[in-house]
């Protein structure tokens, strides 16, 4: 029986799909059998982040409308063989799947996988309602930015109204230097405001961009700080007690400047 997670955020561009791809690969690297379901119909990208864009034959809508069984639509990852993607349609829209269809599909898939991760579209409309319907746990991704935190708060409210009470937080794209200088919301500030159990603090990392370019999530890169943060989250999802990483401190000169208020 699998555990079903939905990765959601309200605001677009905070890293939902990047998080889904990294956690999926990370869980597969740990030997888990994982299915990733892209529900961002019409704006699909999870296939690109995983480097699987040329292997898609069928999609989520083909499955929910009964044209093919889900196993036929799954795309197996080239390198991580216990990782499967169920891509969505790029031509249909969010109304093409309803919550009941996704719940039914996940119930069927549950028997086959250890983890199912659902990548949710931005917004709070139908696509969001469909994506969260089947989830046991909701992971809210946000950034240390007022608009992203406000939207996260809204999403947490919506999840509560939908009786999704197990909610975890991932704060993405943290810039430790800016936090240290007092120019970015700190983890404590975000925890004060949202009061949600935090399972991840991911630093802003240029390797996220370069790894996305290649279609290889940064969790596979040993020297990536964001990759390390994602590996830690994977451990926590699997029930391990992983301490939060310390970010690289700013250099001596910058610290000296800071002390003198420059």
């Amino acid at each position: 029986m699998s555990k079903i997670f939905v990765i959601t955020s309200g605001k677009g561009g905070v890293g939902k799909t990047t998080t889904t791809a990294n956690l999926g690969v990370g869980l597969a690297m740990r030997g888990q059998k994982v299915a990733l379901i892209d529900t961002d119909t019409g704006l699909r990208n999870l296939d690109l982040l995983l480097g699987l864009e040329n292997r898609i034959m069928y999609d989520l809508i083909d499955v929910t409308e009964g044209r093919v069984p889900y196993k036929k639509a799954l795309v197996r990852h080239k390198k991580y063989e216990t990782l499967f993607l169920l891509p969505t349609s790029q031509v249909k829209d969010k109304m093409a799947v309803n919550p009941e269809q996704l719940v039914k599909l996940c119930d069927e898939m549950r028997k086959e996988f250890d983890y199912i991760l659902i990548d949710c579209p931005a917004g709070i409309e139908q696509g969001f309602k469909t994506a969260i319907a089947a989830a046991d746990v909701a992971i809210v991704v946000t950034m240390p930015e007022i608009s992203a935190v406000r939207d996260a708060d809204k999403i947490i409210g919506e999840l509560g109204r939908a009786d999704k009470d197990t909610i975890k937080l991932i704060v993405n794209r943290i810039r430790p230097q800016m936090v240290e200088a007092g120019d970015m919301l700190a983890m404590d500030d975000i925890n004060d405001i949202l009061s949600i159990d935090c399972i991840g603090q991911v630093p802003d990392d240029v390797k996220v961009v370069t790894s996305t370019n290649r279609g290889e999530p940064c969790i596979t890169m040993k020297d990536s700080q964001a990759g390390q943060a994602y590996r830690n989250i994977v451990g926590r999802i699997m029930g391990e007690n992983v301490p939060f990483m310390k970010f690289e401190k700013e250099g001596f000169l910058a610290r000296l400047k800071h002390v003198f208020g420059m």
Binding site: E145, I146, V149, R150, D153, K154, G157, M178, V179, A181, G182, D183, M184, L185, A186, D189, D192, I193
Partner: protein
């Protein structure tokens, strides 16, 4: 108070702290689900009642929801121009 001290010492408040304060205020409204229209109606009703007893400066009047520890408080700042001793004075 802190703002005033900051000004005296010429130190600019850090933008991270400003972000947190702004978020806390805006989320009180978001969570309370009070529309600006409801706040405006409430303000007008308060003006109506208070005007029975005193003349108030409507332009400088401020009314808002604020976070008071764990609860939400309605905070009104209503400048009084003059008391109305004759209650029957108003129209």
């Amino acid at each position: 108070m802190l703002d005033a001290l900051m000004k005296i010492f010429g130190k600019k408040e850090k933008s991270g702290a400003i972000a947190k304060q702004r978020l806390q205020v805006v989320l009180i409204h978001d969570r309370a689900n009070v529309s600006p229209e409801v706040m405006e109606n409430l303000k007008n009703d308060i003006i109506k009642v208070i005007s029975n007893y005193m003349e108030i400066n409507q332009h400088d009047m401020e009314i808002s929801l604020a976070n008071d520890d764990d609860s939400v408080a309605l905070v009104a700042n209503i400048p009084v121009s003059r008391m109305k001793h004759d209650k029957g004075e108003h129209a």
